[in-house]
């Protein structure tokens, strides 16, 4: 099912259409695509219906990317709880509503218990996040998109960076879609949707980036995304 671009206003659609066209061309120029690839993109963007079609694809792709990232996030949180034994010794529902010692009441407790309380508290704080991830569907994803409509500059930056990072896969796939404007828009939308949800996650989670974490299986689950 295609998420309907009509969920956005005409103004929003027009702005998005312009941003996709300019962002794609700017990025292509910035990464110095070869002449043949540039020609394919120029041809596609030059179509009269490009803006409308690309927007349809983008909106659908955004919802897909956003929701896919949400599923990964939720799976990882639940996997973590399973590792901790929640769900075996304690039901997940019970776990999240279990009252624990308040922050101001920890005087006298051992250092280890206080540290574990902190862990438990931050785990319990995930409850509203999981609830939210449960509630978010395509329509909600588009509501999210309305609040963060990317500008042409934003798209040029993101497409350009994606092209530099994964030139042989991401950009090649994009060029291969030409002249299908809907497919191209969806390809970009998926990326931006995934960026959005990963940003949300990144904002909610402290940016602890360690070599150990990068090597962890959790991160390897994201291989191939978006």
């Amino acid at each position: 099912m295609i998420t309907d671009a009509g969920l956005l206003t005409i103004g929003e659609q027009t702005a998005l259409a312009g941003a996709i066209a300019r962002g794609l061309v700017d990025a292509a120029e910035a990464v110095r695509l070869d002449r043949a690839a540039m020609a394919r993109i120029a041809l596609m963007v030059g179509q009269g219906s490009f803006g409308t079609d690309a927007t349809i694809g983008f909106v659908d792709g955004f919802a897909q990317g956003f929701l896919a990232g949400g599923v990964v996030w939720k799976d990882e949180v639940l996997a973590y709880l399973r590792i901790l034994g929640v769900g075996v010794t304690l039901g997940a529902a019970e776990f999240f509503y279990r009252p624990i010692v308040e922050e101001g009441e920890t005087t006298g407790l051992s250092k280890q218990v206080r540290a574990e309380l902190e862990t438990l508290r931050s785990l319990q704080a995930l409850r509203p996040v999981l609830q939210w991830l449960d509630e978010v569907g395509p329509a909600e994803a588009i509501e999210v998109l309305r609040e963060m409509l990317p500008s042409a500059d934003d798209l040029a930056t993101m497409i350009g960076r994606a092209a530099q990072k994964w030139a042989t896969t991401w950009l090649t796939e994009l060029i291969a879609t030409a002249p299908d404007a809907v497919a191209a828009g969806r390809h970009i939308g998926k990326l931006v949707g995934r960026v959005a949800i990963e940003l949300v996650r990144g904002f909610l989670e402290p940016p602890v980036v360690s070599a150990q974490l990068m090597a962890a299986s959790i991160v390897s689950d994201l291989e191939g995304a978006p």
């Binding site: 973590y80 574990e116 309380l117 939210w132 963060m148 500008s151 974490l213 191939g224």
Partner: protein
Amino acid sequence: MSAFTIIELAAGTSFGKAVRRFTIRIAGKKFGQITVRELSEAATKAALHDTERVIGLASVIIVSDAYRIYAVFVLRYPTVLKGIEKSTFAEMVKEAMTAGKRSFEALRGLIVEKMGWDLPETKDMHGAMEKVAKALAKRFGTKWSVPRLVANVTDGEGKQLGGSAVDQHRPGWSGLDHGGHRVEVALQHGGAVQDGG
């Protein structure tokens, strides 16, 4: 591609700022305290069969429950819990429930032991001790030292013998300092391994 490189794509863009505003709006203050990235590191460890955190999680749940139980107990048994702080009680419960067989007997033993430390100062206990002293003097003669109330009496293997006990020793002994002998002393002459106060 990792999550970090995906995020990096939006670095410095107004799109990134818009997502942040959105996040703040949906998240409110509550979400701000989440520390999942660190937890992910912990999850990595846990995946490597590190069960320490599982135990830790169970123990803080027990501690939290003990806090609630304490609130009820302290109203009903103020004397029993006199001098025992909420946190001390919770740690005691945790110790009893996460170590060994998780038995309630072990928990009772810990509470009695804790009481043993506080009770020697009470009048009732002193009265009881005098009676024991007289009985002992009658039975074993008077060449024994004045009995004293001790707590935390253990055998040679460190096994707890009871909550409180009366210790009395032959002249010339320094009582409990004699390691293995204290069992004999406490049992023979105390005979008073008192459980339950």
